[in-house]
Assembly symmetry: C2
Homo-oligomer: 481 residues x 2
């Protein structure tokens, strides 16, 4: 701990140290700068300090102190979020969870796992798969991100179409409320209707309704087989037609991803996986499940790809080859990020039937505002990642980028979709929330925030701005007094 200069600050840091121990308060300027930002471009804010609680009681005491002393606690997993969820706000401390990395239990009989919030997602995958079980959510950052962060953001991934998202696997939570109270919600029962189902409020609350100290996850049997292919197209419409035909055939692949022309070229340039750089669209398709079902469905998928105009279909012979094909998709963000200094990865989502229209609207906005987008994402579940390649130092370009994104968000809403499929609202999309959730919806959210966090001390100012205490302006006459 390095104490800052003012006596007030010194006293404050001592109070934090009295709770978590002096070794767990990080207040040097280097530490504070390190936690000033996350993976969200163009946003940062320096916190007063970062703290590392090592017990539930620490978390509770810190929240009570926050209420007493009126500061904000910003919980942070690995900081891979893309909407600013873990970026500090005014008068805030960042809360870190390096001491919370234990998988506490894998229950073979009930198909559940109890984990601490700091467990890395890929570590959980490995641990349960070693026992023949499966935890489907696989966000792009799974090698570094934490389960606590995944629950806070309701993370998705490449397997969402068939297996759903994080919310579909959270059975229970031990959570410290913003007021410091400890709440346990959920259990190992598949069915439970005892009172309102408010567990879901915490999932995707972007760290603003509670701090998870223990998480109960549902597991499923590991699919016995999987087969993977890449299909390449000269025309995005043909790729879209393929996807519709697969669903019409009543096949639900676990993975159904796409890259557009820009992304294909960047990926090939970066990862040299042998993609033809003149292709206009690429689909990555994986079918999993019982071996006999996989064999049959995979053959049908291959036929559909060819019938709908794929110019080439690459089939993975084994798991190693499948991994190689997946590299093309998993490398998309890194490949695009090399092209220009600033990369803005978005995640508008539309009903599956509207994807081709949505891509057209992105192209229109790109052309109109003269900005470059690479597009990739989850074709199967309508979750697109229009990724803008830009330079934050160029104010004029950034202004045009903002205009383009605004049109893209509004287009998604117009097509029956949403402004964010898996990244969250955070700081980045607050001003669009009311357009998608409606004024009544946002009002409900504000009131729910008020129920859990009356003093607005937990990740305040994320998702929506706090309402000013005085809701109506004073009447003109009254100002005379």
């Amino acid at each position: 701990m390095t104490l800052s200069e003012s006596p007030q600050n010194t006293l404050f840091l001592k109070k934090l140290a009295a709770i978590v121990g002096v070794e767990n308060v990080l207040a040097s300027i280097e530490d504070r700068l390190a936690y000033a930002y996350d993976a969200t471009p163009m946003r940062e804010n320096v916190p007063i300090a970062a703290v590392r609680p090592t017990s539930v009681e620490h978390v509770q005491a810190l929240m009570r102190l926050a209420n007493a002393e009126n500061f904000v606690v910003v919980p942070r997993g690995s900081g891979t979020g893309l909407s600013g969820g873990s970026i500090p706000v005014e008068r805030s401390i960042v809360m870190l969870f390096p001491a919370w990395k234990r998988i506490l239990e894998i229950d073979q009989e009930n198909l559940t796992a109890w984990v601490e919030p700091g467990v890395i997602t890929a570590d959980l995958h490995a641990a349960v798969e070693a026992q023949g079980l499966f935890y489907p959510p696989d966000p792009g950052s799974m090698k570094v991100c934490t389960i606590g962060g995944n629950v806070a953001e309701n993370s998705g991934g490449l397997r969402g179409l068939k297996y759903g998202v994080t919310k579909d696997y959270v059975m229970g939570l031990e959570v410290v409320l913003p007021t410091g109270e400890l709440l346990r919600v959920g259990n190992k029962c598949v069915k439970d209707v005892a009172g309102f189902s408010f567990k879901e409020l915490f999932i995707g609350s972007e760290g603003s309704l509670g701090i998870f100290t223990k998480i109960l996850l549902q597991l499923i049997p590991k699919p016995a087989a999987a087969k993977t292919l890449l299909a390449l197209y000269d025309d995005m419409q043909k790729a879209a037609g393929t996807v519709s035909a697969i669903i019409a055939e009543k096949i639900i692949p676990c993975t159904l991803e796409f890259l557009d022309a820009t992304t294909i070229r960047c990926v090939e340039d970066f990862a040299h996986v042998g993609l033809p750089t003149d292709a206009e669209a690429l689909l990555l398709i994986e079918v999993d499940g019982h071996p006999a079902a996989v064999a049959d469905e995979f053959e049908k998928v291959q036929t559909i790809c060819t019938k709908h105009g794929a110019r080439e279909v690459k089939v993975a012979k084994d798991a190693a080859e499948a991994d190689k094909l997946k590299t093309a998709r998993r490398a998309a963000f890194s490949a695009l990020a090399r092209v220009r200094p600033t990369t803005i990865l978005e995640d508008v989502t539309v009903p599956r039937s509207q994807i081709a229209n949505m891509l057209q609207r992105i192209r229109d906005a790109s052309k109109k505002h003269n900005v470059t987008f690479g597009n990739f994402g989850h074709f199967g579940d309508g979750n697109l990642h229009p990724t803008c390649l830009t330079d934050e130092r160029d104010r004029d370009e950034i202004h045009r980028v903002e205009k383009a994104f605004e049109e893209i968000f509004l287009a998604a809403i117009d097509l029956g979709g949403t402004i964010t499929g898996e990244h969250g609202v955070g700081l980045s999309k607050k001003r669009f929330l009311e357009k998608v959730a409606g004024p009544t919806g946002v009002e409900v959210m504000r009131k729910i925030k008020q129920v859990f966090d009356p003093n607005n001390v937990l990740n305040a100012g994320k998702i929506f701005d706090p309402k000013p205490r005085c809701e109506a302006p004073l009447p003109a006459a009254a100002t005379g007094f």
Copy 2:
């Protein structure tokens, strides 16, 4: 409309008629008695009237009137609930939905359906299955119950183990809030993280947080094949061992149901399906999915049943025979209900690994209090239906029944389970809610109710009692004034 006598009542009924039309206000004593009860035994209460809104505006206007005139609206589907969710309370009107029976859209491309709340569950099954699609939730009352009621109660059914419950299929809601405001939440996107996920609050809110006027459901492809068997045992422990072994083999049947000895005998006596009346336990198992996977898994299940001591395994040769086998399970409640004048069907739920222990605790309570239980239910997901065969006219016996149920509920909580898996809390289990949800959990629920329904006009008094306005008793000294 038959107006009751007092001028005050006449005026009130006229106000209702001004909203929904005189033909849609049911106020004769016969009508009022008809809506005084639902399927919950030993509870009834006569409403002021029943009303049949025919538009969203009617529902909104009725809720505004309820707030203005301080009466309670009790929404009612088909009244099949078992916890008193649709039983009138003091100063209440019952709201009915016979005009809301349209399936508005089945979207083949996005695999969704928009329905009105009054659609009968089995009618939706038939409509989507005709298009090769599937809506899994299948509560016992599916031939008469409504989707609106299913969403309000978060209904389960026989396919919950593999396919989950109603909550897992609700993608969006159009809902009139208790204050009369109209709210739309959710959309056809598989992924959406724009703000707090509060849609789930309405699902299972037992008609107390909002009135559904339109429901968007997720559909899945209809499983291409299914195979069904009945296995009979001389010992419940052997049936439990079979279930554990099936899960350990990484097979998740869509149906995994059981009957105990008492239920087997009653079912045979009632339905004559050829069950041996000396069997101690029966499992009904259905595996569904891709034909090749079904063939393989079904063979494994058969082997496991035999290996774990089934004295007989009856395999259904075709769908008609499968239906016959399922009759044994579907007839359980009706069969038990014939034995004594009053049948109390409960739905305690425990983690799957605790089912054998839970059944022992039910036997203990039954013996201790000298009351008769038949047990059946969803072995796969831990959801048991201990069903008490009694006579409500025998006050002493009913007192013993209540004691036994109290012990059963507490045992379920003790084993890591819950007081209700699919029936809800309603009026019947209010006093046990805090034991399972904890005081903080119930406090959260109360505050959420307050957010949506500040005047407590929508199905008030269900799930938990409203808190008295003056929370603490007056101090003794104050009573002197």
